[in-house]
């Protein structure tokens, strides 16, 4: 029997699971998330292996979903000094790179940017030829001064030639330096894609230490034959090499792991997913087995970006949310006892009334010692529960795509606080092993490929354009490590370009498949 390990870092707990080759759960563990993140990961890894006692040589895959990159951006720490090369002159000069960035973040990545001639039009023609001479000059200038380079060319999602050529030239001069190309990270919208690319470039060192730390930890545990992957925020996997090139795509992989895990555990391809943690809950949508993506610009660390992010609504309600009475009103949170729930919640012998205590008091959940909450006034508990329910129902109503009731999959350690009857929901599904859906989502994840291009329909039919985009996406998925026989198209979207004759259309396609 062969096995895979999945680990997912949450705000409160770090979960690890071991599954066999038939995707059956063999073992699972939860440990508190540590401030440095890594220690918690290694601890979870160690304990799940200890518990399972499987031969470590039989572990063939190890998947990690982590918050290292998010933390680095939020804390402005460990970010690489990055040179930004924007190819598009004379276009784009009106707004220079980094203008709308927070000052401390600009300082953290250094303020090195260059605008050079090149780039393409929406239909793939050149704006101007790539200024290779200028690029060589810049490369010599930044040599030794920066640790990473971000290259962004106008309309590179339509034509990536100038970004690819720029990488060649930069490598000639700079040797083995990480180079982030924007067409592989974001979509149409230069400033947002540039921002995402710069953040990505600044994160490569974080990704390298995360990945090598994980590999070393695996080796220490005797897991030497496993292929190692990091989870990305569309619910699929990246190889370590790929992750070191595209670390930004690891941001927000936690919620998507939960969503994928929930879909897997419940065998539902289309549903709402509510992941209740210790402090907050995320609600997302699973559509054809994958998390629905957000279609609007997403702010990260105070910067507007447009790389793919899951469509989520977060609410300040978790198992550890503190419930109190203020001026005769029941108040839900927003504070939480978090991972200290096993010490502070009343059912565990503590003194703080939490959402979990309310659920136990009403007989809706069985954790801890229910005797300890029997003195909580029933009316208070009912009022609190009613409010908790309203919070959940509102969030569900907001994220739903149609008025038809949809199934809701409940996962996460805190999900015992949610009732079985919710407005707008056809059925509440509580799969087995709901507490470690996130780590399972990591363990069972697939690999994907994506394209986002503008096609001119004066030269081809809409069907031809769609087919072309689908084939490109499938190729990308195979390149990322998918088994060609298992690759499916999981998302197609086309939006016509307004105010332009010639019927140009922007097409986005995603394909995904099982690991080879």
């Amino acid at each position: 029997m062969e096995y895979r390990i999945g680990i997912d870092v949450g705000g409160t707990n770090t979960d690890a699971v071991l599954v066999d080759e038939n995707m059956n759960l063999v073992e699972s563990i939860k440990v508190p998330t540590t401030k440095d993140v890594s220690t918690g990961i290694y601890e979870a890894l160690h304990r799940v292996l200890e518990k399972s006692k499987v031969d470590r040589k039989n572990i063939k895959y190890a998947m990690l979903g982590t918050t290292h990159a998010t933390n680095a951006i939020v804390e402005r720490k460990r970010l690489c000094k990055t040179a930004i090369i924007r190819i598009g002159r004379p276009a784009t000069e009106a707004i220079v790179p980094l203008v709308a960035w927070p000052k401390d973040l600009v300082e953290a990545v250094g303020n090195h940017y260059y605008l050079i001639a090149g780039g393409h039009e929406f239909d793939g023609r050149e704006i101007s030829p790539l200024d290779e001479e200028e690029l060589r000059k810049i490369a010599r200038e930044i040599k030794g001064k920066v640790e990473s380079v971000a290259v962004v060319s106008v309309f590179s999602p339509v034509n990536n030639q100038h970004e690819l050529r720029a990488r060649e030239i930069l490598q000639e001069v700079l040797g083995d330096i990480p180079i982030s190309l924007s067409h592989e990270i974001g979509s149409i919208g230069l400033l947002e894609r540039e921002n995402a690319t710069v953040l990505n470039a600044a994160l490569v060192e974080v990704a390298r230490t995360t990945a090598s730390g994980f590999k070393e930890a695996l080796a220490r545990e005797g897991v030497t034959d496993a292929k190692v992957f990091l989870c990305q925020n569309d619910g699929t996997l990246m190889s370590i090499d790929y992750a070191m090139r595209y670390p930004i795509l690891t941001i927000a992989c936690g919620p998507t792991n939960s969503i994928r895990g929930a879909a897997f555990l419940s065998n539902l391809e289309n549903a709402l997913v509510l992941d209740v943690g210790g402090t907050t809950s995320d609600i997302g949508i699973i559509a054809q087995g994958f998390p629905r993506e957000s279609s609007i610009a997403v702010e990260i660390g105070g910067v507007r970006t447009n790389f793919r992010m899951p469509d989520l609504i977060s609410i300040g309600l978790g198992g550890g949310t503190i419930i109190r009475e203020e001026n005769g009103e029941v108040k839900i949170g927003p504070d939480s006892v978090g991972y200290r729930i096993t010490e502070e919640a009343v059912v565990f012998g503590g003194k703080t009334v939490t959402a979990t205590d309310i659920a136990v008091r009403l007989g809706l959940a069985e954790v801890g010692d229910k005797e300890k909450v029997k003195d909580l006034p029933l009316e208070f508990a009912q009022k609190a529960y009613q409010k908790m329910q309203e919070l959940v129902e509102e969030a569900i109503d907001k994220i739903k795509t149609s008025k038809d009731p949809q199934p809701l999959i409940l996962v996460g350690g805190g999900s015992i606080i949610v009732s079985d009857k919710i407005n707008g929901v056809s059925q509440v599904v509580r799969p087995q092993n709901f507490g470690v859906a996130n780590a399972l989502g990591a363990a069972i994840a697939q690999v994907s490929g994506e394209v986002d291009r503008i096609y001119s329909l004066s030269e081809m039919s809409r069907d031809e354009a769609l087919n072309n985009a689908k084939q490109l996406a499938i190729n990308e998925a195979i390149k990322a490590g998918a088994n060609p026989d298992s690759v499916n198209i999981v998302h197609v979207e086309d939006i016509p370009l307004a105010y332009l004759p010639g019927n140009a259309v922007r097409i986005r396609v995603k394909a995904a498949g099982n690991l080879l």
Binding site: E93, D123, D397, A498
Partner: protein, 360 residues
């Protein structure tokens, strides 16, 4: 006299995006350009139409093409000056002031940038009082002002001077040239004299945009309902509140036509609204009955924040309020309705003012 500063730019961007009735593009790039220009050159002077001498030359500055192209191929920043300077040289007369051509996310911002850089005043007027997709769809056209001579300029340094026999030819030639020039160009168009502007322009649109943006901003800050503030600032009517349940889009002749389906919530529960759009929102039907049509303004805003939503930004699940605002009386003339009424856009619907329609 009013000075346009950075705060006012922010307010104008929000207000004009609302008046864009779903079209007119995302103001983000235009706003950054305008703010940059103000930071470099100081505030812009906003003057009234009455401050423009009858024989002074005024010129609208605008972007033409696809907003999707502009957010990717950001301007060089020099195009619009090239367009302006070429037109000024051709006409052989100094330009006295800059005017906006439409109230839209993007085209409310471009003239501010030009005014700041050229150190010219901006006139508190425009040619639409909202956003429309075609060049002849301006009140200037209703009063016989010619769109040409006009100049289109791209970031590469190309510029094109057009002289046409009528404003429909201008639209067709300029639109096709825009594609060849890369899908997004800057234009100087409808050059006219103060006396024409006084007759043909829609007055106080810049201060009106700013007032709307400010009302929304202050309501949010003070914890009041921004939708209420918006209705008060515009004199508009809340036509519907609901959740977008479906958006259908198709391209015909370069314009994105589509429909947004909205399922009612709160007091509209059980009811439905369908909005027909063609870049901009054109017809609103509540339970199958027309409640507002172009040229009156049909605006879709976020139900919580009152932030305007463009037709490109419409998506499933959004909670929205639909607002109808009476258009400028100029549009309600016979020629106005012929130029921008529902039948021009291909709908078999007669124009009836929104304030009459909602009475039922």
């Amino acid at each position: 006299m009013t000075k346009i500063d950075v705060q006012m730019v922010e307010d104008i961007a929000v207000g004009a995006a609302l008046l864009g009735t779903g079209g007119g593009g995302d103001p983000y790039v235009g706003k950054l350009m305008a703010i940059q220009a103000l930071q470099k050159n100081g505030p812009v002077e906003l003057i009234s139409v009455d401050d423009v001498p009858d024989d002074a030359l005024v010129v609208p500055a605008a972007m033409m093409g696809a907003p999707t192209v502009l957010v990717e191929k950001i301007p060089s920043g020099k195009e619009i000056f090239k367009a302006f300077d070429s037109l000024q040289n051709y006409l052989g007369k100094e330009i006295f002031a800059v005017i906006p051509i439409e109230a839209g996310g993007l085209n409310s911002m471009i003239p501010i940038t030009v005014a700041a850089e050229k150190k010219l005043p901006l006139v508190d007027v425009d040619g639409m009082g909202r956003a429309f997709p075609e060049l002849q769809m301006v009140t200037f056209h209703l009063y016989g002002v010619s769109a040409t001579p006009m100049v289109l300029a791209d970031e590469k340094g190309n510029s094109l001077l057009l002289n046409t026999i009528n404003n429909f030819w201008t639209e067709s030639l300029a639109r096709n040239a825009t594609v060849v020039m890369g899908g997004s160009v800057m234009i100087a168009i409808y050059p006219m004299y103060g006396r024409d502007l006084k007759q043909a322009g829609i007055r106080k649109i810049v201060t009106y945009s700013a007032k709307i943006g400010r009302a929304i901003r202050e309501a949010r800050k003070n914890g009041e309902d921004p939708i209420e503030a918006l209705l008060k600032a515009t004199g508009g009517f809340a036509l519907f509140k609901g959740k977008i349940s479906d958006v259908q889009r198709r391209t015909t002749g370069g314009f994105v036509r589509g429909e947004a389906h909205i399922d009612g919530i709160d007091q509209y529960k059980g009811e439905s609204m369908i909005i027909d759009f063609q870049n901009e929102n054109l017809i609103a039907r509540r339970n199958g009955k027309v409640v507002a049509t172009v040229p009156d303004l049909i605006c879709i805003v976020d139900a919580h924040t009152a932030a305007p939503i463009t037709t490109e930004g419409l998506r499933y699940g959004q909670r929205v309020v639909v607002i109808g605002i009476p258009c400028d009386p100029k549009w309600r003339s016979e020629k106005g309705i012929a130029t921008v009424g529902p039948r021009y856009f291909g709908y078999d619907v007669d124009y009836v003012p929104v304030e009459e329609l909602i009475k039922g």
